[in-house]
């Protein structure tokens, strides 16, 4: 029941936004800003970058509003625009996809129970510390759920590059988790 009501409100807002109503645009922004900033955070290095992405993303959402034909959830449509905008942001700022070579020497293992204790903020910090190329591929594959083929199409890198970036991203994240756990245990002990 709540969901239906929410959907009705959003549909109405979208309709009024298409008509160019300023108040509706502001309401729509308030409705989704926090969620979308959460998406942008995963692709950004810090809050400033994330808010830049959010700003560009919302301007694009309002520009392309007429293209949204009500097929599928509006939130999903908006999210896709944010994600594509975030990747575009890196392309513009020449930070895109530089491959960082890693020493494949350290075999790392993460204790799942310990990892499960990490909260969202910790994981967010870990993702933000990744090199942009790793961060984008890991986000698209692990969180957004795109295939390597789709990632190749979105980012312009090859499928193979997407696979290797993903596995390197995981390796870096595992190392960082172990470090973080070590610190926590250190603090506790």
């Amino acid at each position: 029941m709540m969901f239906l009501e929410h959907k009705y409100i959003i549909d109405d807002l979208v309709k009024r936004c298409k008509a160019g109503e300023r108040k509706a645009q502001e309401l729509l922004y308030k409705q989704f800003a926090s969620k979308m900033l959460g998406v942008c955070f995963r692709y950004a290095t810090d809050r400033m970058e994330a808010e830049d992405m959010l700003q560009n993303g919302f301007i694009k959402v309002f520009q392309k509003m007429a293209d949204y034909r009500g097929e599928g959830a509006f939130e999903g449509w908006m999210r896709r625009i944010m994600v594509h905008g975030a990747i575009e942001y890196y392309r513009k700022h020449h930070k895109m996809m530089q491959l960082v070579e890693l020493d494949a020497s350290n075999e790392t293992s993460v204790d799942p129970l310990a990892a499960a204790k990490l909260d969202a903020k910790d994981l967010m910090v870990l993702i933000q510390r990744l090199a942009p190329g790793y961060r984008i591929v890991f986000n698209l594959y692990a969180i957004e759920g795109y295939s390597h083929k789709e990632i190749a199409a979105i980012t312009g890198i090859s499928e193979g590059a997407s696979k290797s970036q993903l596995s390197r991203a995981r390796t870096v994240l595992r190392e960082q988790i172990i470090k973080m756990e070590g610190k926590k245990y250190g603090n506790a002990g």
Binding site: S34, F41, E51, F62, A116, I127, A142, R170, L173
Partner: protein, 257 residues
Amino acid sequence: MEMPDNEFDELFRSKLNGFEAEPSANVWTRINAGINANKRRKIFVPVLSIAASIIVLVAAGILFFPAKENTTGKRNIQNKVTKGAGTIIAAQKAIDDKKPAILGANQAVKQNKADAHVDIAEVARETKKAEDTSPNQPGETQLAVLKDAQLSLAPLNMKQHVVPDSGTVLAIKLPMKDSIPLVVRQPQPAIQSPAIANQDASAKTKHKIHSVGDLVNILVAKVDKRKDKFVEFTDTDGDQSTITGVNLGIVKIKKGE
């Protein structure tokens, strides 16, 4: 104990997918400004296109109208040339410049439009002086030559003031001494019958560039291979050209050949 990749990914997905963060207050202000900037640009585009079309129209006006005005202006000047004072003053300048006679005279006339408008009264005064100082005999022959020239100019639509009143003709005498060759050469193309003169003009159009019109003709001919060109200029008064044909596909205008 190693965590499988899919479980590792799932850990991040479950914890970060619903992640929310309150944006700073100024983000909406910036978005709002961005939307407005876009709207302004959308309004600005038609304004630009209107401005562009006005510029095109004005440019067309400048290209077409002065061409006509110059033609009549030129005729007037040429009439005055036959009248006398203008030619001689202008021609002497041209000789000073050592330019080819006809072209030079024309140019000189252009440069000295003011001189061309010499007051008849002034001319008459000069005439008296001339009569006092110079012998009459050579002047008379020159007058005869000039009359010849004027007569032959008559068929070229130079109807106004073709035959000058005696005062003006006399006025020619004094400066004429130096410029006989020019005065004789000036009307030369006019001695031929109008038909031949016309042919001459069209031949010129094809081979030589004398005016902007010729240049445009050549450029148009390069692009437009139809018989009736997009725009066609014809030399009418020596170096002055007017538009004699327009072909816009549907609309065709062609002045009588």
